[in-house]
């Protein structure tokens, strides 16, 4: 805590697109009140002022992909009373975890003329693979209302009220017609964590899983259904291999279709 009793908040970035920390700046109505309730002690995207640690709450965006970052996260953990990871990169490795299924040396030579200049790890891993994480907030990107709820909960020392059920529940609640049942549109809603407000079906498209797996996903059964709706093995493989490709249930399901894909 600071001398005035406000908890100290820090925001850290690893391999990512910056979208999840932007979500904090996108809370336009809450930003100034939030800065009154907590001391924004380290948030380079917002201010060059730096308050020394330790920090009461650290928000961590991004995945670990370099040897230096694997060291840095240890330092951040030791300087943080509570550590919350935000977004698909930090909680599952993000889209850059597609390297986990490939040869990273080949990736490096595709993108860079001088692969030897580039230091990178074979795998992109979530923060929890390196340090203890107090709470994981999912989404690619995270939802701003959920972020505010998590911050409020930590400031008030209570559990965040964040659902662990599937996106289907949100669809039902909104009264959105099921795109899979009514239109035969392939949809990952049954296996995907709620949180976005079941956005895609309200735009006449199937959920593409950007919030990652829900608590008890039956991916095998959904994969069968996706094939009934006309998807090939390789398409099924790819829908599980996007922004949360390395999340365990999605990874295991995609690997089943790898064997079947010529």
């Amino acid at each position: 805590m600071t001398e005035n009793g406000r908890p100290k908040l820090a925001v850290w970035k690893f391999a990512s697109c910056d979208g999840c920390q932007l979500t904090l700046l996108n809370c336009e109505d809450e930003l100034i009140p939030l800065a009154g309730a907590v001391e924004i002690a380290y948030f380079p995207e917002a201010t060059r002022a730096v308050v020394e640690g330790p920090y009461d709450v650290s928000l961590v965006e991004g995945s670990v992909t370099t040897p230096a970052d694997a060291e840095r996260i240890l330092e951040i953990r030791s300087a943080s009373r509570r550590l919350i990871t935000i977004g698909a990169c930090a909680t599952s490795g993000g889209i850059q975890a597609l390297r986990n299924f490939a040869d990273v040396a080949e990736y490096r030579s595709i993108v860079y003329a001088h692969p030897e200049y580039v230091q990178t790890l074979e795998r992109s891993t979530p923060i929890a693979a390196h340090v203890t994480v107090d709470y994981e907030l999912h989404g690619c990107p995270i939802d701003s209302r959920q972020l505010l709820e998590v911050l409020a909960a930590f400031v008030q020392d209570r559990r965040p009220r964040i659902p662990s059920y599937s996106a289907c529940v949100e669809c039902k609640r909104r009264g959105t017609v099921c795109v899979a049942v009514a239109h035969g549109t392939p949809c990952l809603g049954p296996v995907t964590l709620a949180g976005c407000g079941a956005l895609c079906p309200t735009f006449s498209r199937g959920c593409y899983g950007c919030f990652g797996p829900q608590d008890t996903p039956n991916t095998g059964s959904l994969a069968d259904q996706l094939q009934v709706l006309g998807m090939s093995e390789s398409q099924v493989l790819r829908v599980f291999r996007t922004f949360n490709a390395a999340a365990e249930p999605f990874r295991l399901e995609s690997e089943k279709h790898e064997e079947a894909t010529p």
Partner: protein, 435 residues
């Protein structure tokens, strides 16, 4: 792009834990009192988008490449759609183009408001950040947040959400907004337009360090007005070429100090993309309100002081709000939310104007639409050499400043470019080496 990471051993200092402030650093070499070299080092970890796009379907780049940047995802979606559609020989109908332009206006409003108010104005007004600035300039920060929110609201309406919109697909959109939905946002955009005009007045009154950029300016130019969602390439030396020829004019190089590839145009040392380039090459296409705001702010036909890019960004904010209202008022609906884009073998090119400048995509497709090769050239890798060129001149005149003040001013100079070092903005770690 995305090519961000590591470095040769001469800059290993940036990798240790004391430097966690950021993803980039600056290295200055001084020889006999003269600045011999300035290096902007970018060590954002590489994420390998161009590699993992290989083998994906032609329909996937809009969702996947959006994830390159959370601050300008629409730019990535728009350039990728154009490139895939060109590979497949499809041109979208006029209504789809207009709706794309409307969505893009939302991103410009959001991104420019973020940069002007939250990231750059604090430099000019002497604060470490906007939150600290709000204590003394409450109404100013509130105006910035209101503008930003209007941009986000427009992106949410057309795209489904502000970060990584879900409604964009190759060929158009999944669902069209209804005329009622579009009308409902008009009052907020009118307020935003007023706020944008006020923004120009505010930033035009800032003190600007003297500086003149000599580099060639590069932007799109389009028959559909001030460039956003497409066009061909024009430059300040009078060169013009089609986006399909971008790859023959622009060559990316990989240097040890940076994970962002450096782009060169026809072998020249450096060139500039972004608001200053767009303005110099397209100011005649700004709407009347934006032209008036530019005149009142004292901008001529071109502005070559990079510190005044904040003024040009504000003028573009006027244009984007005004343009969004115009598109909504003239909207007559569309026959369908998208057109089919059947796969075929071929190569396609697409370029649009991201808030930070020209963003180029190129895809090579197999007959079944599988991506065989992808190239993405983002604005920051094109500007990186120019940032260094600016800094060489800038630092030379300021070598006597106390270190902290020099760092602060250099950061401000770098922020002139709104660099998307995965959009990190406060990142400078300065080392001055005396030889």
């Amino acid at each position: 792009m995305t090519h961000k990471l590591t470095q040769g051993d001469h800059i290993l200092h940036v990798e240790n834990l004391a430097r966690v402030e950021g993803e980039g650093s600056m290295h200055v070499v001084v020889k006999d009192g003269l600045v011999a070299d300035v290096e902007l080092q970018i060590f954002e970890p590489p994420r390998f988008f161009e590699a993992f796009l290989r083998g994906r379907a032609w329909t996937e780049p809009p969702d996947i490449t959006a994830r390159i940047c959370g601050i300008c995802p629409v730019a990535y979606q728009m350039s990728s759609c154009l490139a895939i559609e060109s590979a497949c020989g499809v041109t979208v109908p006029e209504e789809i183009r207009l709706l794309r332009r409307l969505l893009y206006c939302g991103e410009w409003i959001e991104s420019h408001a973020l940069h002007i108010y939250l990231l750059h104005a604090p430099d000019f007004l002497g604060y470490p950040g906007a939150i600290e600035m709000a204590a003394d300039h409450g109404p100013v920060v509130e105006r910035g947040l209101r503008l930003k929110k209007a941009g986000n609201a427009l992106m949410t309406l057309v795209g489904g959400r502000a970060i990584h919109p879900v409604n964009v697909r190759v060929g158009g959109f999944y669902r069209l907004p209804t005329p009622d939905e579009l009308r409902s946002i008009r009052p907020r955009l009118e307020r935003a337009r007023d706020d944008a005009v006020e923004t120009v007045r505010l930033v035009a009154g800032f003190d600007f360090p003297e500086m003149v950029q000599e580099q060639e300016y590069v932007a799109l130019r389009s028959p559909h007005g001030y460039p956003l969602e497409g066009g061909s390439v024009v430059t300040s030396t009078g060169r013009t070429f089609e986006v399909a020829d971008f790859g023959t004019h622009v060559v990316e190089e990989h240097v040890a100090r940076s994970n962002a590839l450096h782009a060169r145009l026809d072998g020249q040392e450096s060139y500039v993309v972004g608001p200053l380039a767009r303005y110099a090459l397209n100011h005649d296409q700004l709407g009347p309100l934006a032209q008036e705001a530019a005149r009142d702010a004292g901008l001529g036909d071109e502005c070559r002081n990079p510190f005044q890019s904040i003024v040009v960004r504000a003028v573009e904010l006027v244009h984007a709000t005004d343009e969004a209202i115009r598109i909504i008022d003239e909207w007559e609906g569309a026959a369908a939310p998208f057109v089919d884009v059947p796969a075929r073998a071929g190569i396609g090119y697409g370029a649009t104007e991201a808030p930070r400048g020209l963003l180029y995509h190129r895809y090579e497709l197999a007959e079944d639409g599988t991506i065989l090769d992808a190239t993405i050239v983002p604005p920051t890798s094109q500007n990186q050499r120019s940032i260094e060129a600016d800094l060489r001149v800038f630092v030379q005149d300021r070598l006597d400043l106390p270190r902290d003040e020099l760092v602060r001013q250099c950061e401000q100079a770098i922020r002139n470019y709104d660099p998307c070092i995965s959009c990190a903005t406060h990142f400078l770690d300065l080392t001055v080496e005396d030889r």
